[in-house]
């Protein structure tokens, strides 16, 4: 599929925003409602999970829009967990036999266990090749199988391409779409056959309506200036950026990600224009609160 075709497909999916759980607010096809998922923290970084609709304001291109849908209930989640298996990264991630460190596997297992029954995960890797997991599943045994059988260290870090491949793999899934990358955060170049580069990664995130969560593993001061891009991409998509200095920190870090994903607000609004273009989006809450939500969205196309 060409990039152009992919974009068209993704656009079609993005224009029909839907949430699947019957007990939660549902956006029906054709309503032109756009969903935004927001994480709110107080001044000390603690999650604030109990706000009402009135606490939020949404702006499109600087103009306020009405919030027509609101929910504090976790929406169904599809996660593409992408593990950086590059040679440099690998020395912190795995053993010489290719198995993930037990601490890493435990952290991932705990993350899977913390998800809701309706949530699903696929596990992929990127290094010498980019391999998005085939099965989107909630089955811990299948996740464990992939971690045991399909993680191989070696190669470089085709980071942006891997993120795009993961986004595309979720583009047709309902509800929230999250790409969660466990990586050293340093892109080392491209592989044949994959789109995705720093210059267009934000656009892919917008068009696939994907949130990027990144866990950068490694000492905080190592290559810090090079990993800034990953942080920017994550935050612009409404996702999150975390640092885990070592494997020992992964359990806590994955738990924070899971906690965030359980406490996101759903805000829905109807854009004033249907021009098929990307528009700026700002979400604010009360004083002293920080809101993380995607910073742009793709308006539905004209009919």
């Amino acid at each position: 599929m060409t990039v152009q075709a992919t974009m068209l497909t993704v656009f079609g999916a993005a224009a029909i925003v839907a949430a699947a759980a019957p007990q939660t607010p549902t956006f029906s096809a054709g309503t032109q409602t756009v969903a935004v998922y927001a994480t709110v923290q107080d001044g000390s970084g603690r999650l604030v999970p109990d706000l009402d609709r009135d606490a939020f304001r949404v702006f499109v291109d600087g103009a306020a829009v009405d919030i027509v849908q609101f929910s504090r209930d976790p929406q169904p989640l599809s996660v593409a967990l992408m593990i950086d298996t590059s040679e440099v990264r690998g020395h912190g991630l795995g053993t010489r036999t290719g198995d993930l460190h037990r601490t890493t596997r435990n952290a991932i297992d705990a993350f899977i266990g913390a998800l809701a029954p309706a949530d699903r995960v696929r596990v992929g890797t990127f290094g010498l090749e980019i391999a998005v997991g085939a099965n989107l599943t909630r089955d811990p045994a299948e996740i464990e199988r992939v971690l045991r059988e399909e993680v191989w260290l070696g190669g470089g870090t085709p980071l942006w391409q891997a993120l795009v491949a993961a986004m595309e793999s979720l583009a047709a899934e309902p509800g929230r779409r999250v790409v969660l990358a466990l990586t050293n955060g340093i892109d080392t170049g491209r592989l044949p056959g994959f789109p995705g580069r720093r210059s267009n990664i934000d656009e892919y995130a917008v068009r696939t309506d994907s949130m990027v969560y990144a866990i950068r593993i490694g000492p905080a001061d190592t290559w810090a200036t090079m990993t800034g891009d990953l942080k920017d991409v994550s935050l612009a998509s409404g996702g999150g950026y975390f640092e885990a200095p070592s494997d020992a920190d992964l359990g806590q870090t994955f738990a924070r990600v899971a906690d965030e994903l359980r406490h996101q607000y759903l805000l829905g609004f109807v854009p004033a224009v249907s021009d098929g273009q990307v528009h700026r989006l700002d979400v604010v809450a009360g004083p002293g609160l920080t809101v993380r939500a995607r910073r742009s969205f793709l308006a539905p196309g004209a009919r």
């Binding site: 090749e129 998005v132 090079m226």
Partner: protein, 342 residues
């Protein structure tokens, strides 16, 4: 006598009768045939086999061997992993050297071989030319997705075209997933229709399996029960070695440092696959060892020296059991599927 007592009596009689029938069936045994390869400690075909001294066990219990014969003609699916990891290696990073030291961006530097340079001639010479009369071969490949060629064939011209199709794969699809287990699963499906023949798979791969829909355990189970033996030629990975066809993917004059290549060994999975299905694992390309053509010939030779061993199984239809066959000669290794189903 009440009706209730009468019914109970009939039920008891039926139960006793059924138990007797089942016991009789188990005692009589059903003929179950498995294909077997005998090798020496160096994985070469064993020349002298004492078939009269073989001992077969089902679920650990000795069962009679009712027949040992040369295996029927071969139906073979050859699956070649043409993904980049088989023929490319990351040899270092190039730093662009612009700006401050901390701003320098690394760019991966790879050396690459081509599937054609690595495998075309070995497939033609090591497999097609090594076929015996009556053999049927079908080619397949793994490159992001598993694919099988159109059909089984017996003639060199058709198979030559199929072999070229295997290696003529665009670079665009060689850097994605490597669903090796899915490919084996697909090959088992293709072989199920090849009844009354020695059914086997020749899998050529470095074992870096990713993106599978089915897992290794499920594939082993299915192949073993279908008596499809998987022979594996395990390619050294991250180690392109062809004298021609090399290319430096990212060229630069900037300083670079050499990365270690493979840091992992995926052969454990491949060895388990071969062992459980009655195949043989052969490593290739390590320490200047055998090259693909020779390994392919080794596999064809083993397959042509296969036997069909039939045992009287105590299982009832639908039941499963472990299976083992031992040779009286400790120098001979017996390769047979490790489970079967009646």
């Amino acid at each position: 006598m009440t009706i209730r007592v009468l019914v109970s009596g009939i039920a008891c009689a039926v139960a006793v009768l059924m138990t007797s029938v089942v016991a009789a069936q188990r005692e009589a045994g059903a003929a179950v045939t498995s294909h077997v390869v005998f090798t020496t400690s160096t994985s070469a075909a064993a020349v002298t086999i004492d078939t009269a001294g073989l001992v077969a066990r089902s679920n650990g219990v000795i069962v009679p061997i009712v027949d040992v014969a040369a295996a029927p003609p071969l139906s073979l699916v050859v699956i070649v992993d043409v993904t980049s990891s088989v023929s490319e290696a990351m040899v270092g990073f190039v730093w662009d050297g612009r700006g401050k030291a901390n701003d320098a961006r690394p760019s991966g530097m790879r050396v690459a071989d081509s599937p054609s340079a690595l495998f075309l001639s070995p497939l033609l010479r090591g497999v097609v030319r090594a076929m015996a009369a009556g053999d049927r071969v079908r080619f397949g490949r793994v490159a992001d997705a598993p694919e099988l060629g159109r059909e089984f064939a017996t003639d060199a011209a058709t198979l030559g075209r199929a072999a070229r199709w295997v290696v003529d794969v665009p670079a665009d699809v060689r850097h994605g997933r490597t669903p090796i287990w899915d490919a084996v699963d697909m090959a088992v499906s293709a072989l199920e229709a090849e009844r009354g023949r020695r059914r086997a798979i020749l899998l050529v791969t470095d074992g870096l399996s990713t993106g599978n829909r089915v897992g290794l355990d499920a594939v082993i189970e299915r192949a073993a029960h279908a008596d499809v033996a998987v022979f594996v030629v395990g390619e050294a990975w991250g180690n392109p070695r062809s004298a021609r066809g090399w290319s430096l993917v990212d060229r630069t004059d900037a300083p670079w440092f050499r990365m270690t290549g493979a840091s992992t060994s995926p052969f454990g999975h491949l060895q388990r696959l071969a062992r459980a299905t009655g195949g043989v694992f052969l490593a290739d390309g390590h320490d200047g060892g055998p090259v693909p053509e020779r390994r392919f010939r080794d596999v064809m030779n083993l397959l042509h020296r296969s036997y069909s061993v039939t045992v009287a199984s105590p299982l009832l239809p639908g039941e499963s059991a472990t299976l083992s066959i031992l040779s009286p000669d400790p120098a001979v290794e017996v390769h047979v599927r490790d489970r079967y189903r009646r």
